[in-house]
Symmetry: C2
Subunit: 109 residues, 2 copies
DNA sequence: ATTATTAATCGCAATATTGCAATATAAAGT
DNA sequence: ACTTTATATTGCAATATTGCGATTAATAAT
């Protein structure tokens, strides 16, 4: 085994899991924070900023891109990464729905 | 290798990664949604609701509990699970900080 | 053409995750 | 004490993730 049973869950649940899984790593959180702070980022900047090797950063960027959270545009020799707004908004809405659902509950076991 | 370099990241980044990693699975998203909807939940309800075996649900509950997102109270033969409000609020604030940081940015590469 | 510069890919070893059958634990009812 | 009910733990096979050295690809500068 070792394979997630995606077929028994809704499309929304699977989508949200993919997006959150992409963020759920300290390096990728740091990368996203850096991109948000600087608006755009190239791989080399992140290698200098965080203490990780270039292939490692490149792979994390790839995972964030696969999840749709960031987009990369070729800019000469380098690649310019930035937040992919539509997907970012999708995530924001999913999460706020999540939080809103609990919002006013206080009673617990 | 195969070990995340937690030491080079901030405490906040690592904390957020742990919380998001716990949520980042469709089964655990479904479990959290069910708990939020019903306010409290026992393991057996979730086994009936989702199509997963009892040990599998139990393990997912354990991971959510380890991350601090839920808490379980023994209630006779069963265990009553509910959202752990302080940690849930911590997550909410971290995420809203995240979203707020990007909020008004539109320019991209 | 040659050489930097920048980023992606490959290959690998170490480790983590996923799902479940089998089993164990523990409280409640008889 | 015995049985039922509800959950946790163990052990295992399949798969996924993590990090990086070595290499490759592709553009830019000389």
């Amino acid at each position: 085994m070792g394979l997630t049973k995606t077929e028994i869950f809704t499309e929304e649940q699977n989508r949200l899991a993919v997006m959150l899984k992409a963020i759920a790593h300290p390096a990728r959180i740091a990368i996203l924070q850096e991109i948000i702070k600087s608006n755009t980022c190239i791989c080399g900047d992140l290698v200098d900023e965080l203490g990780l090797a270039q292939p490692t950063i490149s792979q994390h960027l790839k995972e964030l891109k696969n999840a749709g959270l960031i987009q990369g545009t070729i800019d000469g020799v380098s690649v310019c990464y930035c937040i992919n707004t539509p997907v970012w908004n999708e995530l924001r809405e999913q999460m706020s729905g999540f939080f809103a659902a609990f919002d006013r509950k206080v009673t617990c076991c």
